[in-house]
Symmetry: C2
Subunit: 366 residues, 2 copies
């Protein structure tokens, strides 16, 4: 039992008291396939041939060039055999899960093309299924710390079949809806929300490569493209709320991953103002928009925009909630945020723990 | 001389000390034509006939219905003769300038179609010129408190001619670039910025009716459309900065009118982060993006999103500047914000004065 008196002054020679390391849940880990060959074992013969024999590859619509070779990834994230960063379980385990003491890590992948591609839904459905089976066998089955996101095709009936199929896996803990140039709140997609809600699964939204700015203008520079990302997330929140998704599925949780969070209080206030004056137009929306933000939406912390502790506390003050943020690392991408250093000094310990762990645990119903 | 001791308790019977009324500059007043007939005297015969003989009218692309008759305007803003609200100088003078003690009022009009319309640039240039002449004769010449915004066609050479023509008018104090689905930072438009800069005129940007959400999805509801507006302003700030407009024209001031301001610190932080990592791609951008926000951009207060004084001070804390906001009323529109009641209690007096007056005076070089 420690009976030493507490001291407010600590000389640098004093041995610092060992702080208990806070538990960490990482909500955005991009595991990757080494190539389309990884999916072949899981594809029916009909579709396998498109890849193995006919050379089909997904579209690559990113509207700018990577500005240097390999800059998409952390310098040290490429496996020794030269495979795609994020494709090697042992390396990911060592560099992320072990080194950063991640208790649970959510795999978000990088195979959103199966969802956001236009048309050819049967093939897209087969690719989504193959990717889910690959994730389960190559990743989830190897490490109980890893959790998975169910990849779906965009066509709602096929998406519901895939959710029903994969929800049985105990480590598949959310459904992934990548963000592209269409809005998921449209009633056409409601069967997807219904299925997730029925299985008690939350929905994650993560940007895909297909993002244009408001107005559709071509984005010539990566810095502009990156600055535009949050607009795509705003569009989704407006679409979900005005189309009554949370009124139809009140227990549904939606996380917006890698879209920033500093814009969130502004969006809450803007929508509340508009709703107060104009709600007669959308009578199915029963609550103030900010209530859906607070109760149904979560936002991840990466990429952290160099905010000081004081600036961050202004944002929390505007949000009026300490339950909306969840930590994410974005491993193995170049703008990786480590758990121990993402949040700046000056943040209350309770809030830090909620962001690093508690809020994600509630979201995931762990 | 008042020698009564100060009291912290004031009974409701006490006569309140008369506070000096702060001076007001209103940066967004929508004067309107009664109809296209008002422009006919200023149009060359060639173009006049399109309106008087052939029944030409501007496109009306607003993507939703007004949800009630006349809801675009303040209930009391329609003149007795039934003309369009905002078209009657005497009523505007009484309801706005006199009643709200406006020292200077910036007319922003509502004739943005001449700028944002596609093609037919000669006719658009003629309409813009006619509208400027109408504004000068019907409004500016009648009241020295009124200031004007130069309407331009979108085609840069014709726009520059119109700026050169109108800059001589002593009450024409800014150039209006309406916001639609294209980004003004594109080098194609730089001659317009060059002309404004050369004349020492700031640029105002105000949304037009042509605004789609990021992704281009159709916006079914006014509440959604309104919540999307700020995205269009974000796109313009990104476009101006990444295309180096403020590096080419360092003294240029740009005001973003009716687009909100709560998103501004978030955009500053997001762009700074992106720029730190990716500036090699845009070497002509010499300063941190937030520096251009602070030094070259101004934002108007209307529509005020029901922020408390405390919330507002969080935003100012995040902005780290008290010089970026300017008051606007949006008269005669339904969401009119009166000068005396827009800013909530709890805002320091110096800041209040800067927002209501000083910041606009600097911007306008008065």
């Amino acid at each position: 039992m420690n009976r030493q008196p507490k001291s407010t002054v600590t000389s640098s020679d004093d041995k610092k008291p060992r702080r208990s390391r806070p538990a960490v849940i990482d909500m955005d880990i991009h595991h990757e396939i080494r190539g389309l060959g990884d999916l072949l074992p899981y594809l029916p013969e009909q579709w396998k041939r498109y890849i193995s024999d006919y050379g089909w590859v997904p579209e690559r619509p990113i509207p700018f060039n990577q500005i240097r070779k390999d800059t998409k990834y952390r310098m040290d994230a490429r496996p020794e055999d030269g495979a795609t960063p994020g494709s090697d379980y042992e390396l990911l385990k060592r560099q992320l899960l072990d080194e950063h003491h991640v208790e649970y890590g959510m795999l978000t992948g990088w195979f959103y093309e199966a969802t956001v591609c236009k048309g050819w839904y049967e093939f897209a459905a087969a690719r989504a299924s193959a990717y889910n089976d690959y994730t389960a066998e190559h990743w989830l089955d190897r490490d109980p710390r890893l959790l998975g996101s169910i990849t779906i095709p965009r066509e709602p009936a096929a998406a519901v079949r895939e959710i029903d199929r994969m929800a049985a896996h105990p480590q598949m803990k959310q459904v992934m809806l990548p963000i592209a140039d269409f809005a998921w709140g449209d009633p056409y997609y409601h069967p997807i929300f219904e299925a997730a809600h029925r299985h008690g699964l939350p929905i994650a939204m993560h940007l895909s490569a297909i993002i244009t700015a408001q107005g559709g203008d071509f984005l010539r520079y990566y810095v502009a493209w990156r600055s535009v990302h949050p607009q795509a997330y705003m569009t989704q929140t407006i679409s979900l709320i005005t189309n009554g998704v949370f009124d139809k599925y009140p227990d549904l949780q939606v996380s917006l991953v890698e879209g920033g969070f500093e814009w969130v209080p502004f969006m809450m206030h803007r929508m509340d103002s508009a709703y107060k004056a104009l709600r007669q137009e959308t009578p199915w929306v029963k609550r103030m928009p900010s209530a859906y933000f607070r109760d149904n939406m979560r936002f991840t912390t990466q990429p952290w925009d160099d905010l000081s502790g004081e600036q961050f506390m202004h944002i929390i003050g505007l949000m009026e909630s300490d339950e909306m943020l969840m930590y994410a690392s974005d491993y193995p991408h170049w703008d990786f945020d480590p758990a121990a250093r993402t949040l700046p000094p000056g943040i209350p310990e309770t809030l830090r723990r909620k962001i690093l762990y508690d809020n994600a645990r509630s979201y995931l119903r762990l």
